[in-house]
Protein backbone atom coordinates (compact mmCIF):
# COMPACT_ATOMS: atom_id res chain seq x y z
CA UNK A 1 0.00 0.00 0.00
CA UNK A 2 2.84 2.36 0.90
CA UNK A 3 4.35 1.65 -2.48
CA UNK A 4 1.09 2.36 -4.21
CA UNK A 5 0.72 5.71 -2.49
CA UNK A 6 4.33 6.56 -3.27
CA UNK A 7 3.83 5.62 -6.90
CA UNK A 8 0.73 7.75 -7.02
CA UNK A 9 2.57 10.73 -5.55
CA UNK A 10 5.21 10.34 -8.23
CA UNK A 11 2.58 9.88 -10.89
CA UNK A 12 0.76 13.01 -9.78
CA UNK A 13 3.91 14.92 -10.61
CA UNK A 14 3.66 18.61 -11.00
CA UNK A 15 2.49 19.03 -14.56
CA UNK A 16 6.04 19.88 -15.57
CA UNK A 17 6.57 21.88 -18.75
CA UNK A 18 6.46 19.57 -21.71
CA UNK A 19 9.54 20.58 -23.67
CA UNK A 20 12.25 17.99 -23.30
CA UNK A 21 15.35 17.10 -25.25
CA UNK A 22 14.48 13.54 -26.27
CA UNK A 23 10.87 12.67 -25.68
CA UNK A 24 10.21 9.02 -24.92
CA UNK A 25 6.46 9.27 -24.55
CA UNK A 26 3.67 9.61 -27.06
CA UNK A 27 0.05 10.44 -26.36
CA UNK A 28 -2.49 8.93 -28.73
CA UNK A 29 -5.88 10.59 -28.31
CA UNK A 30 -8.54 8.37 -29.77
CA UNK A 31 -12.23 7.52 -29.99
CA UNK A 32 -14.10 5.87 -27.17
CA UNK A 33 -14.16 2.20 -28.13
CA UNK A 34 -10.58 1.77 -29.39
CA UNK A 35 -8.90 1.04 -26.07
CA UNK A 36 -8.06 -2.59 -26.75
CA UNK A 37 -7.18 -2.00 -30.40
CA UNK A 38 -4.53 0.56 -29.54
CA UNK A 39 -3.33 -1.37 -26.51
CA UNK A 40 -2.49 -4.15 -29.01
CA UNK A 41 -0.96 -1.72 -31.51
CA UNK A 42 1.21 -0.17 -28.80
CA UNK A 43 2.39 -3.54 -27.61
CA UNK A 44 3.69 -4.24 -31.12
CA UNK A 45 4.96 -0.74 -31.89
CA UNK A 46 7.14 -0.28 -28.80
CA UNK A 47 9.55 -3.18 -29.60
CA UNK A 48 9.40 -2.31 -33.32
CA UNK A 49 10.51 1.25 -32.56
CA UNK A 50 13.14 0.15 -30.07
CA UNK A 51 14.64 -2.19 -32.64
CA UNK A 52 14.90 0.61 -35.17
CA UNK A 53 16.07 3.43 -32.93
CA UNK A 54 17.15 1.93 -29.62
CA UNK A 55 14.62 4.12 -27.81
CA UNK A 56 12.13 2.49 -25.45
CA UNK A 57 8.90 4.42 -25.74
CA UNK A 58 5.98 4.65 -23.41
CA UNK A 59 2.74 5.26 -25.26
CA UNK A 60 -0.25 6.74 -23.53
CA UNK A 61 -3.84 6.42 -24.67
CA UNK A 62 -6.86 8.60 -24.09
CA UNK A 63 -10.30 7.48 -25.21
CA UNK A 64 -13.58 9.37 -25.33
CA UNK A 65 -16.03 10.71 -27.90
CA UNK A 66 -13.94 12.39 -30.61
CA UNK A 67 -15.77 15.70 -30.48
CA UNK A 68 -14.98 15.93 -26.78
CA UNK A 69 -11.40 14.84 -27.51
CA UNK A 70 -10.96 17.53 -30.17
CA UNK A 71 -12.27 20.12 -27.72
CA UNK A 72 -9.83 18.91 -25.05
CA UNK A 73 -6.89 19.14 -27.49
CA UNK A 74 -7.92 22.68 -28.41
CA UNK A 75 -7.96 23.45 -24.67
CA UNK A 76 -4.46 22.10 -24.22
CA UNK A 77 -4.51 18.29 -24.02
CA UNK A 78 -1.10 17.48 -25.49
CA UNK A 79 -1.99 14.84 -28.07
CA UNK A 80 0.92 13.90 -30.32
CA UNK A 81 -1.38 11.99 -32.63
CA UNK A 82 -5.11 11.64 -33.04
CA UNK A 83 -6.74 8.43 -34.24
CA UNK A 84 -10.39 9.32 -34.73
CA UNK A 85 -13.50 7.75 -36.19
CA UNK A 86 -14.59 10.78 -38.16
CA UNK A 87 -12.77 13.36 -40.24
CA UNK A 88 -14.89 16.29 -39.07
CA UNK A 89 -13.23 16.32 -35.66
CA UNK A 90 -9.74 16.44 -37.20
CA UNK A 91 -11.03 19.30 -39.35
CA UNK A 92 -11.91 21.06 -36.09
CA UNK A 93 -8.23 20.80 -35.09
CA UNK A 94 -7.26 22.05 -38.55
CA UNK A 95 -9.50 25.12 -38.21
CA UNK A 96 -7.88 25.86 -34.85
CA UNK A 97 -4.41 25.70 -36.38
CA UNK A 98 -3.26 22.58 -34.51
CA UNK A 99 -3.12 20.26 -37.52
CA UNK A 100 -1.76 21.35 -40.92
CA UNK A 101 -4.23 21.70 -43.78
CA UNK A 102 -2.50 18.98 -45.79
CA UNK A 103 -3.05 16.25 -43.19
CA UNK A 104 -5.07 14.12 -45.62
CA UNK A 105 -2.24 14.01 -48.15
CA UNK A 106 0.46 13.02 -45.69
CA UNK A 107 -0.59 9.39 -45.42
CA UNK A 108 -2.19 6.95 -47.87
CA UNK A 109 -5.97 6.61 -48.36
CA UNK A 110 -6.79 10.10 -47.14
CA UNK A 111 -4.83 9.41 -43.95
CA UNK A 112 -7.16 6.59 -43.06
CA UNK A 113 -5.20 3.39 -42.28
CA UNK A 114 -8.40 1.37 -41.91
CA UNK A 115 -12.11 1.68 -42.46
CA UNK A 116 -15.38 0.07 -41.53
CA UNK A 117 -19.00 0.16 -42.65
CA UNK A 118 -22.45 0.13 -41.11
CA UNK A 119 -23.50 -3.51 -40.71
CA UNK A 120 -26.26 -5.43 -38.93
CA UNK A 121 -26.37 -7.35 -35.68
CA UNK A 122 -29.37 -9.69 -35.40
CA UNK A 123 -30.67 -12.20 -32.86
CA UNK A 124 -29.14 -15.69 -32.95
CA UNK A 125 -30.32 -17.68 -35.95
CA UNK A 126 -31.58 -14.47 -37.61
CA UNK A 127 -35.23 -15.40 -36.87
CA UNK A 128 -36.62 -12.51 -38.96
CA UNK A 129 -34.24 -13.23 -41.85
CA UNK A 130 -32.83 -9.72 -42.04
CA UNK A 131 -30.27 -9.62 -44.87
CA UNK A 132 -30.28 -6.21 -46.47
CA UNK A 133 -31.42 -2.61 -46.23
CA UNK A 134 -34.88 -3.32 -47.69
CA UNK A 135 -35.66 -5.64 -44.77
CA UNK A 136 -35.48 -2.68 -42.37
CA UNK A 137 -38.81 -1.28 -43.55
CA UNK A 138 -40.75 -4.54 -43.18
CA UNK A 139 -43.71 -4.24 -40.81
CA UNK A 140 -42.44 -6.97 -38.50
CA UNK A 141 -38.91 -5.56 -38.10
CA UNK A 142 -37.84 -3.18 -35.35
CA UNK A 143 -34.52 -1.39 -35.90
CA UNK A 144 -32.14 0.04 -33.30
CA UNK A 145 -29.50 2.68 -33.92
CA UNK A 146 -28.51 5.80 -31.99
CA UNK A 147 -29.87 9.27 -32.60
CA UNK A 148 -28.16 10.69 -35.72
CA UNK A 149 -28.46 14.13 -34.17
CA UNK A 150 -25.99 13.17 -31.44
CA UNK A 151 -24.11 10.14 -32.75
CA UNK A 152 -21.56 10.13 -35.57
CA UNK A 153 -22.04 6.38 -35.83
CA UNK A 154 -25.76 6.82 -36.62
CA UNK A 155 -24.99 9.47 -39.20
CA UNK A 156 -23.15 6.80 -41.16
CA UNK A 157 -26.18 4.53 -40.83
CA UNK A 158 -28.43 7.27 -42.19
CA UNK A 159 -26.03 8.00 -45.07
CA UNK A 160 -25.63 4.30 -45.90
CA UNK A 161 -29.39 3.79 -45.99
CA UNK A 162 -29.74 6.90 -48.14
CA UNK A 163 -27.00 5.81 -50.56
CA UNK A 164 -28.69 2.41 -50.87
CA UNK A 165 -32.08 4.02 -51.55
CA UNK A 166 -30.68 6.53 -54.05
CA UNK A 167 -29.35 3.62 -56.06
CA UNK A 168 -32.39 1.35 -55.78
CA UNK A 169 -34.89 4.11 -56.65
CA UNK A 170 -32.64 5.62 -59.33
CA UNK A 171 -32.45 8.93 -57.51
CA UNK A 172 -36.23 9.42 -57.25
CA UNK A 173 -36.24 11.72 -54.20
CA UNK A 174 -39.87 11.08 -53.26
CA UNK A 175 -39.24 7.32 -53.04
CA UNK A 176 -35.88 7.77 -51.29
CA UNK A 177 -37.45 9.96 -48.63
CA UNK A 178 -40.37 7.61 -48.27
CA UNK A 179 -37.99 4.70 -47.68
CA UNK A 180 -35.94 6.67 -45.11
CA UNK A 181 -39.07 7.78 -43.27
CA UNK A 182 -40.12 4.15 -43.01
CA UNK A 183 -36.68 3.18 -41.65
CA UNK A 184 -36.96 5.84 -38.95
CA UNK A 185 -40.52 4.71 -38.19
CA UNK A 186 -39.18 1.20 -37.50
CA UNK A 187 -37.02 2.54 -34.64
CA UNK A 188 -38.83 2.26 -31.29
CA UNK A 189 -36.51 4.81 -29.62
CA UNK A 190 -33.18 6.48 -30.26
CA UNK A 191 -30.38 5.96 -27.71
CA UNK A 192 -27.90 8.87 -27.52
CA UNK A 193 -24.80 6.88 -28.41
CA UNK A 194 -23.45 3.61 -29.76
CA UNK A 195 -22.89 1.97 -26.37
CA UNK A 196 -26.41 2.81 -25.21
CA UNK A 197 -27.80 1.33 -28.41
CA UNK A 198 -25.84 -1.89 -27.81
CA UNK A 199 -27.16 -2.12 -24.26
CA UNK A 200 -30.74 -1.57 -25.47
CA UNK A 201 -30.40 -4.28 -28.12
CA UNK A 202 -28.41 -6.96 -26.33
CA UNK A 203 -29.22 -6.54 -22.68
CA UNK A 204 -32.74 -5.12 -22.80
CA UNK A 205 -33.72 -7.21 -25.81
CA UNK A 206 -35.23 -4.26 -27.71
CA UNK A 207 -35.49 -4.51 -31.51
CA UNK A 208 -34.69 -7.12 -34.15
CA UNK A 209 -31.59 -5.56 -35.69
CA UNK A 210 -28.89 -3.22 -34.38
CA UNK A 211 -27.01 -1.12 -36.91
CA UNK A 212 -23.48 -0.03 -36.07
CA UNK A 213 -19.98 -0.31 -37.51
CA UNK A 214 -19.02 -3.80 -38.67
CA UNK A 215 -16.07 -3.81 -36.25
CA UNK A 216 -18.46 -3.16 -33.37
CA UNK A 217 -20.97 -5.70 -34.64
CA UNK A 218 -18.29 -8.40 -34.52
CA UNK A 219 -16.89 -7.31 -31.17
CA UNK A 220 -20.36 -7.36 -29.64
CA UNK A 221 -20.95 -10.84 -31.13
CA UNK A 222 -17.64 -12.05 -29.62
CA UNK A 223 -18.50 -10.54 -26.25
CA UNK A 224 -22.02 -11.95 -25.96
CA UNK A 225 -21.58 -15.12 -28.02
CA UNK A 226 -23.01 -16.50 -31.26
CA UNK A 227 -25.78 -18.12 -29.21
CA UNK A 228 -27.13 -14.65 -28.49
CA UNK A 229 -26.48 -12.51 -31.56
CA UNK A 230 -24.92 -12.81 -34.98
CA UNK A 231 -23.45 -10.47 -37.58
CA UNK A 232 -25.01 -9.78 -40.97
CA UNK A 233 -23.21 -7.75 -43.63
CA UNK A 234 -25.64 -6.19 -46.12
CA UNK A 235 -24.98 -6.42 -49.88
CA UNK A 236 -23.89 -2.81 -50.02
CA UNK A 237 -22.85 -0.23 -47.45
CA UNK A 238 -20.98 3.01 -46.93
CA UNK A 239 -17.24 3.33 -46.37
CA UNK A 240 -16.50 4.88 -42.99
CA UNK A 241 -12.92 6.10 -42.77
CA UNK A 242 -10.99 6.13 -39.50
CA UNK A 243 -8.62 9.04 -40.11
CA UNK A 244 -5.38 9.73 -38.24
CA UNK A 245 -3.18 12.81 -37.98
CA UNK A 246 -0.09 14.13 -36.29
CA UNK A 247 -0.96 17.15 -34.15
CA UNK A 248 1.63 19.52 -35.56
CA UNK A 249 1.39 22.17 -32.87
CA UNK A 250 2.07 19.61 -30.13
CA UNK A 251 4.83 17.56 -31.77
CA UNK A 252 6.69 20.71 -32.78
CA UNK A 253 6.57 22.00 -29.22
CA UNK A 254 7.60 18.66 -27.73
CA UNK A 255 10.05 17.60 -30.40
CA UNK A 256 8.18 14.33 -30.89
CA UNK A 257 7.38 14.59 -34.60
CA UNK A 258 9.56 11.63 -35.62
CA UNK A 259 7.94 9.29 -33.12
CA UNK A 260 4.45 10.50 -34.00
CA UNK A 261 4.98 10.01 -37.73
CA UNK A 262 6.53 6.57 -37.24
CA UNK A 263 3.61 5.59 -35.04
CA UNK A 264 1.02 6.49 -37.65
CA UNK A 265 3.05 4.92 -40.46
CA UNK A 266 3.25 1.72 -38.42
CA UNK A 267 -0.52 1.40 -38.79
CA UNK A 268 0.05 0.96 -42.55
CA UNK A 269 2.73 -1.75 -42.23
CA UNK A 270 1.67 -5.39 -42.71
CA UNK A 271 2.16 -5.94 -38.97
CA UNK A 272 0.04 -2.92 -38.07
CA UNK A 273 -2.64 -3.80 -40.62
CA UNK A 274 -2.79 -7.34 -39.28
CA UNK A 275 -3.49 -6.10 -35.74
CA UNK A 276 -6.15 -3.70 -37.00
CA UNK A 277 -7.83 -6.42 -39.09
CA UNK A 278 -7.88 -8.78 -36.12
CA UNK A 279 -10.20 -6.23 -34.47
CA UNK A 280 -12.55 -6.58 -37.46
CA UNK A 281 -11.64 -3.36 -39.21
CA UNK A 282 -11.15 -3.48 -42.99
CA UNK A 283 -7.64 -2.73 -44.22
CA UNK A 284 -6.19 -1.78 -47.60
CA UNK A 285 -3.15 -4.07 -47.52
CA UNK A 286 -4.27 -6.80 -49.93
CA UNK A 287 -2.37 -9.68 -48.35
CA UNK A 288 -3.74 -8.89 -44.91
CA UNK A 289 -7.24 -8.34 -46.29
CA UNK A 290 -7.08 -11.72 -48.02
CA UNK A 291 -6.01 -13.43 -44.79
CA UNK A 292 -9.10 -12.06 -43.01
CA UNK A 293 -11.50 -12.54 -45.95
CA UNK A 294 -13.58 -15.22 -44.19
CA UNK A 295 -14.14 -12.95 -41.20
CA UNK A 296 -14.94 -9.89 -43.31
CA UNK A 297 -17.04 -10.94 -46.33
CA UNK A 298 -17.00 -9.10 -49.64
CA UNK A 299 -19.20 -6.06 -49.74
CA UNK A 300 -19.72 -3.28 -52.23
CA UNK A 301 -19.06 0.10 -50.67
CA UNK A 302 -20.19 3.61 -51.52
CA UNK A 303 -17.62 6.32 -50.97
CA UNK A 304 -19.30 9.22 -49.12
CA UNK A 305 -17.17 11.70 -51.09
CA UNK A 306 -18.48 10.36 -54.40
CA UNK A 307 -22.13 10.03 -53.38
CA UNK A 308 -22.56 13.02 -51.09
CA UNK A 309 -19.50 15.29 -51.41
CA UNK A 310 -17.10 16.59 -48.76
CA UNK A 311 -17.94 16.36 -45.07
CA UNK A 312 -18.52 20.10 -45.03
CA UNK A 313 -21.13 19.71 -47.73
CA UNK A 314 -22.65 16.65 -46.07
CA UNK A 315 -22.95 18.48 -42.76
CA UNK A 316 -24.62 21.52 -44.31
CA UNK A 317 -26.90 19.62 -46.65
CA UNK A 318 -27.97 16.75 -44.40
CA UNK A 319 -27.32 17.42 -40.72
CA UNK A 320 -27.82 21.16 -40.28
CA UNK A 321 -31.08 22.35 -38.74
CA UNK A 322 -33.82 21.89 -41.36
CA UNK A 323 -31.51 19.80 -43.57
CA UNK A 324 -32.35 16.62 -45.44
CA UNK A 325 -32.16 14.50 -42.28
CA UNK A 326 -34.84 16.61 -40.59
CA UNK A 327 -37.18 15.98 -43.53
CA UNK A 328 -37.17 12.21 -43.01
CA UNK A 329 -36.41 11.93 -39.26
CA UNK A 330 -40.08 11.60 -38.41
CA UNK A 331 -40.34 10.14 -34.93
CA UNK A 332 -37.44 11.79 -33.09
Amino acid sequence: MKKLVLASVLALGLGAPAVQAQPTTLLNVSYDIARELFAAVNEAFVPYYEEQTGIALSIEQSHAGTSAQARAIIEGLEADVVTFNQATDIELLEVNGLVGEDWRERLPNNASPYYSLPAFLVRAGNPKNIQDWDDLVRDDVEVIFPNPKTSGNARYTYLAARAYAEEVFGGDQAQVEDYLRNVFLSVPGFPTGGRAATTAFVEQGIGDVLITFESEVNNIRDEFGTGVVEAVVPSVSLKADFPVAVVDAVVDARGSRDIAEDYLEFLYTPEGQDIVASFYYRVTNEDVAAAYADMLPDVRLFDPAEVFGTWDEITTEHFAEGGLLDQVFVNQ
Partner: protein
Protein backbone atom coordinates in the same frame (compact mmCIF):
# COMPACT_ATOMS: atom_id res chain seq x y z
CA UNK B 1 -55.07 11.19 11.60
CA UNK B 2 -55.01 9.51 14.94
CA UNK B 3 -51.33 8.75 15.06
CA UNK B 4 -49.47 9.97 18.09
CA UNK B 5 -46.12 11.66 17.85
CA UNK B 6 -43.68 8.99 18.88
CA UNK B 7 -40.00 8.79 19.32
CA UNK B 8 -38.94 6.60 16.41
CA UNK B 9 -36.24 4.97 18.54
CA UNK B 10 -38.85 3.76 21.06
CA UNK B 11 -41.19 1.44 19.19
CA UNK B 12 -44.80 1.32 20.20
CA UNK B 13 -45.80 -1.87 21.95
CA UNK B 14 -48.97 -2.91 20.22
CA UNK B 15 -49.95 -5.45 17.65
CA UNK B 16 -49.10 -4.22 14.17
CA UNK B 17 -52.07 -3.65 11.92
CA UNK B 18 -52.21 -5.25 8.47
CA UNK B 19 -51.67 -1.89 6.81
CA UNK B 20 -48.61 -1.31 8.93
CA UNK B 21 -47.10 -4.65 8.04
CA UNK B 22 -47.93 -4.03 4.40
CA UNK B 23 -46.19 -0.67 4.41
CA UNK B 24 -43.13 -2.04 6.14
CA UNK B 25 -43.00 -4.89 3.64
CA UNK B 26 -43.33 -2.46 0.77
CA UNK B 27 -40.49 -0.28 2.05
CA UNK B 28 -38.31 -3.34 2.56
CA UNK B 29 -39.13 -4.65 -0.89
CA UNK B 30 -38.34 -1.25 -2.38
CA UNK B 31 -35.02 -1.09 -0.58
CA UNK B 32 -34.06 -4.59 -1.71
CA UNK B 33 -35.16 -4.12 -5.32
CA UNK B 34 -33.83 -0.61 -5.82
CA UNK B 35 -30.68 -0.72 -3.69
CA UNK B 36 -29.80 -4.24 -2.62
CA UNK B 37 -30.11 -5.96 -5.98
CA UNK B 38 -28.09 -3.43 -8.01
CA UNK B 39 -25.29 -3.47 -5.44
CA UNK B 40 -25.21 -7.26 -5.37
CA UNK B 41 -25.17 -7.32 -9.17
CA UNK B 42 -21.89 -5.39 -9.12
CA UNK B 43 -20.24 -8.17 -7.14
CA UNK B 44 -21.93 -10.98 -9.04
CA UNK B 45 -20.64 -9.60 -12.35
CA UNK B 46 -17.24 -8.71 -10.91
CA UNK B 47 -16.67 -12.28 -9.73
CA UNK B 48 -18.55 -13.96 -12.57
CA UNK B 49 -15.36 -15.18 -14.22
CA UNK B 50 -13.77 -16.30 -10.96
CA UNK B 51 -11.50 -14.77 -8.36
CA UNK B 52 -8.37 -14.99 -10.51
CA UNK B 53 -9.90 -12.97 -13.33
CA UNK B 54 -11.21 -10.53 -10.73
CA UNK B 55 -7.75 -10.02 -9.27
CA UNK B 56 -6.21 -9.71 -12.72
CA UNK B 57 -8.76 -7.01 -13.53
CA UNK B 58 -8.06 -5.07 -10.35
CA UNK B 59 -4.30 -5.43 -10.71
CA UNK B 60 -4.35 -4.35 -14.35
CA UNK B 61 -1.87 -1.41 -14.25
CA UNK B 62 -4.30 1.22 -15.53
CA UNK B 63 -7.07 0.20 -13.15
CA UNK B 64 -4.57 0.09 -10.29
CA UNK B 65 -3.36 3.54 -11.23
CA UNK B 66 -6.94 4.80 -11.34
CA UNK B 67 -7.51 3.48 -7.81
CA UNK B 68 -4.28 5.16 -6.66
CA UNK B 69 -5.15 8.46 -8.33
CA UNK B 70 -8.65 8.47 -6.83
CA UNK B 71 -7.35 7.73 -3.32
CA UNK B 72 -4.61 10.33 -3.75
CA UNK B 73 -7.11 12.98 -4.86
CA UNK B 74 -9.23 12.27 -1.78
CA UNK B 75 -6.16 12.46 0.49
CA UNK B 76 -5.41 15.93 -0.84
CA UNK B 77 -8.92 17.33 -1.21
CA UNK B 78 -10.53 16.16 2.05
CA UNK B 79 -7.97 17.78 4.44
CA UNK B 80 -8.07 21.03 2.47
CA UNK B 81 -11.85 21.12 2.61
CA UNK B 82 -11.80 20.30 6.34
CA UNK B 83 -9.63 23.35 6.99
CA UNK B 84 -11.75 25.46 4.65
CA UNK B 85 -15.01 24.20 6.14
CA UNK B 86 -13.96 24.82 9.75
CA UNK B 87 -12.62 28.27 8.91
CA UNK B 88 -15.74 29.20 6.95
CA UNK B 89 -18.12 27.89 9.62
CA UNK B 90 -16.17 29.67 12.34
CA UNK B 91 -16.26 32.92 10.44
CA UNK B 92 -19.94 32.71 9.64
CA UNK B 93 -21.16 31.65 13.11
CA UNK B 94 -18.80 33.56 15.40
CA UNK B 95 -18.60 36.95 13.71
CA UNK B 96 -21.12 39.47 12.49
CA UNK B 97 -20.04 41.39 9.44
CA UNK B 98 -21.63 42.84 6.34
CA UNK B 99 -21.90 40.25 3.59
CA UNK B 100 -22.16 37.32 6.03
CA UNK B 101 -25.34 36.00 4.40
CA UNK B 102 -23.79 36.42 0.99
CA UNK B 103 -20.76 34.39 2.06
CA UNK B 104 -23.01 31.57 3.32
CA UNK B 105 -24.74 31.54 -0.03
CA UNK B 106 -21.47 31.51 -1.96
CA UNK B 107 -20.24 28.52 0.05
CA UNK B 108 -23.38 26.69 -1.05
CA UNK B 109 -22.97 27.37 -4.76
CA UNK B 110 -21.25 24.07 -5.64
CA UNK B 111 -24.31 22.26 -4.23
CA UNK B 112 -26.58 23.87 -6.77
CA UNK B 113 -24.24 23.95 -9.74
CA UNK B 114 -24.15 20.82 -11.89
CA UNK B 115 -20.71 19.16 -11.75
CA UNK B 116 -20.36 19.34 -15.51
CA UNK B 117 -20.70 23.12 -15.25
CA UNK B 118 -17.97 23.13 -12.60
CA UNK B 119 -15.69 21.30 -15.02
CA UNK B 120 -16.44 23.67 -17.86
CA UNK B 121 -15.82 26.69 -15.60
CA UNK B 122 -12.33 25.40 -14.83
CA UNK B 123 -11.73 24.71 -18.50
CA UNK B 124 -12.65 28.29 -19.32
CA UNK B 125 -10.32 29.55 -16.62
CA UNK B 126 -7.26 27.36 -17.13
CA UNK B 127 -7.68 25.80 -20.59
CA UNK B 128 -5.43 26.86 -23.47
CA UNK B 129 -8.25 29.07 -24.80
CA UNK B 130 -9.24 30.10 -21.28
CA UNK B 131 -8.84 33.29 -19.27
CA UNK B 132 -5.47 32.38 -17.74
CA UNK B 133 -4.48 29.99 -20.54
CA UNK B 134 -1.97 32.23 -22.34
CA UNK B 135 -0.39 33.37 -19.05
CA UNK B 136 0.03 29.78 -17.84
CA UNK B 137 1.46 28.75 -21.21
CA UNK B 138 4.04 31.54 -20.99
CA UNK B 139 5.03 30.38 -17.52
CA UNK B 140 5.22 26.78 -18.73
CA UNK B 141 2.65 25.65 -16.17
CA UNK B 142 0.12 23.02 -17.14
CA UNK B 143 -3.04 22.61 -15.11
CA UNK B 144 -5.71 21.25 -17.41
CA UNK B 145 -5.55 17.52 -18.17
CA UNK B 146 -3.17 16.89 -15.27
CA UNK B 147 -4.03 15.53 -11.81
CA UNK B 148 -3.89 19.14 -10.57
CA UNK B 149 -7.05 19.91 -12.53
CA UNK B 150 -8.74 16.85 -11.04
CA UNK B 151 -7.84 18.02 -7.53
CA UNK B 152 -9.07 21.54 -8.27
CA UNK B 153 -12.50 20.56 -9.59
CA UNK B 154 -12.93 18.01 -6.81
CA UNK B 155 -12.23 20.76 -4.28
CA UNK B 156 -14.80 22.98 -5.94
CA UNK B 157 -17.48 20.33 -6.05
CA UNK B 158 -17.02 19.28 -2.39
CA UNK B 159 -16.25 22.68 -0.85
CA UNK B 160 -19.60 23.01 1.00
CA UNK B 161 -19.71 19.56 2.59
CA UNK B 162 -17.85 20.26 5.85
CA UNK B 163 -19.05 23.83 6.26
CA UNK B 164 -22.68 22.79 5.72
CA UNK B 165 -22.43 20.23 8.54
CA UNK B 166 -20.76 22.66 10.94
CA UNK B 167 -22.71 25.87 10.44
CA UNK B 168 -26.10 24.75 11.89
CA UNK B 169 -24.39 22.98 14.79
CA UNK B 170 -22.16 25.88 15.70
CA UNK B 171 -25.13 28.21 15.41
CA UNK B 172 -27.18 26.23 17.95
CA UNK B 173 -24.21 25.69 20.25
CA UNK B 174 -23.59 29.41 20.48
CA UNK B 175 -20.29 30.85 21.64
CA UNK B 176 -20.74 30.72 25.45
CA UNK B 177 -18.17 27.94 25.92
CA UNK B 178 -15.58 29.82 23.93
CA UNK B 179 -16.32 33.11 25.71
CA UNK B 180 -15.89 31.34 29.04
CA UNK B 181 -12.56 29.89 27.92
CA UNK B 182 -11.35 33.26 26.72
CA UNK B 183 -12.41 34.98 29.94
CA UNK B 184 -10.45 32.38 31.87
CA UNK B 185 -7.37 33.38 29.92
CA UNK B 186 -7.16 30.82 27.12
CA UNK B 187 -5.41 31.89 23.96
CA UNK B 188 -7.25 31.83 20.64
CA UNK B 189 -5.76 28.58 19.42
CA UNK B 190 -6.16 26.91 22.83
CA UNK B 191 -9.82 27.86 22.77
CA UNK B 192 -10.23 26.34 19.35
CA UNK B 193 -8.31 23.15 20.18
CA UNK B 194 -9.73 22.41 23.64
CA UNK B 195 -13.22 23.92 23.42
CA UNK B 196 -14.50 24.36 19.87
CA UNK B 197 -13.04 21.27 18.27
CA UNK B 198 -14.36 18.74 20.84
CA UNK B 199 -17.81 20.32 20.45
CA UNK B 200 -17.87 19.92 16.70
CA UNK B 201 -15.76 16.81 16.16
CA UNK B 202 -18.55 14.42 15.21
CA UNK B 203 -20.17 16.82 12.78
CA UNK B 204 -16.71 17.53 11.37
CA UNK B 205 -15.95 13.86 10.83
CA UNK B 206 -19.38 13.34 9.34
CA UNK B 207 -18.80 16.19 6.88
CA UNK B 208 -15.37 14.80 6.02
CA UNK B 209 -16.85 11.35 5.33
CA UNK B 210 -19.46 12.82 2.98
CA UNK B 211 -16.80 14.93 1.30
CA UNK B 212 -14.60 11.89 0.81
CA UNK B 213 -17.42 9.84 -0.70
CA UNK B 214 -18.18 12.60 -3.16
CA UNK B 215 -14.55 13.18 -4.17
CA UNK B 216 -14.05 9.50 -4.95
CA UNK B 217 -17.28 9.17 -6.89
CA UNK B 218 -17.15 12.43 -8.83
CA UNK B 219 -17.54 11.83 -12.54
CA UNK B 220 -19.01 14.82 -14.39
CA UNK B 221 -16.62 17.60 -13.40
CA UNK B 222 -13.57 15.35 -13.55
CA UNK B 223 -14.44 14.01 -16.99
CA UNK B 224 -14.27 17.52 -18.44
CA UNK B 225 -10.80 18.39 -17.11
CA UNK B 226 -9.09 15.00 -16.95
CA UNK B 227 -8.24 14.28 -20.59
CA UNK B 228 -8.83 10.62 -19.71
CA UNK B 229 -5.23 9.56 -20.27
CA UNK B 230 -5.02 5.95 -19.14
CA UNK B 231 -2.50 5.43 -16.40
CA UNK B 232 -2.07 9.16 -15.91
CA UNK B 233 -5.28 11.13 -15.44
CA UNK B 234 -8.00 8.49 -15.44
CA UNK B 235 -9.80 8.34 -12.10
CA UNK B 236 -11.69 5.26 -10.99
CA UNK B 237 -15.16 6.44 -12.15
CA UNK B 238 -13.70 7.36 -15.57
CA UNK B 239 -11.89 4.04 -15.81
CA UNK B 240 -15.14 2.21 -15.07
CA UNK B 241 -16.89 4.04 -17.90
CA UNK B 242 -13.98 3.33 -20.25
CA UNK B 243 -14.03 -0.39 -19.51
CA UNK B 244 -17.79 -0.51 -19.87
CA UNK B 245 -17.71 1.28 -23.25
CA UNK B 246 -15.11 -1.23 -24.33
CA UNK B 247 -17.51 -4.13 -23.68
CA UNK B 248 -15.16 -5.26 -20.90
CA UNK B 249 -18.08 -5.82 -18.54
CA UNK B 250 -16.19 -7.96 -16.04
CA UNK B 251 -13.37 -5.43 -15.83
CA UNK B 252 -15.83 -2.57 -15.43
CA UNK B 253 -17.65 -4.35 -12.62
CA UNK B 254 -14.39 -5.35 -10.93
CA UNK B 255 -13.32 -1.70 -10.91
CA UNK B 256 -16.81 -0.71 -9.79
CA UNK B 257 -16.62 -3.18 -6.93
CA UNK B 258 -13.58 -1.40 -5.46
CA UNK B 259 -15.41 1.90 -5.60
CA UNK B 260 -18.47 0.25 -4.03
CA UNK B 261 -16.41 -1.28 -1.23
CA UNK B 262 -14.91 2.12 -0.47
CA UNK B 263 -18.39 3.65 -0.52
CA UNK B 264 -19.80 0.96 1.78
CA UNK B 265 -16.91 1.41 4.21
CA UNK B 266 -17.57 5.14 4.14
CA UNK B 267 -21.24 4.53 4.92
CA UNK B 268 -20.27 2.26 7.84
CA UNK B 269 -18.08 5.01 9.26
CA UNK B 270 -20.93 7.45 8.78
CA UNK B 271 -23.43 5.19 10.56
CA UNK B 272 -20.98 4.65 13.42
CA UNK B 273 -20.46 8.38 13.73
CA UNK B 274 -24.18 9.07 13.66
CA UNK B 275 -24.90 6.62 16.44
CA UNK B 276 -22.16 8.18 18.57
CA UNK B 277 -23.70 11.55 17.92
CA UNK B 278 -27.16 10.39 18.97
CA UNK B 279 -25.90 8.71 22.12
CA UNK B 280 -24.01 11.70 23.32
Amino acid sequence: MQTVAVNPTAPRKHKRSGAEIGLIGLALLGAVVMLGVPISVIFVYAFRAGIEVYLANILEPNTLHAIGLTVMTALIVVPINIVFGVAAAWLVTRFRFPGRKLLTTIIDIPFSVSPIVAGVIYLFLYGAQGLFGPLLADLGIRIMFTPIAIVLVSMFVTAPFVARELIPLMQTQGSEDEEAALSLGAKGFQTFWYVTLPNIRWALLYGAVLCNARVMGEFGAVSVVSGAIRGRTNTLPLQIELLFNDLNVTGAFAAASTLTVIALLTMLVKVALESRRVHR
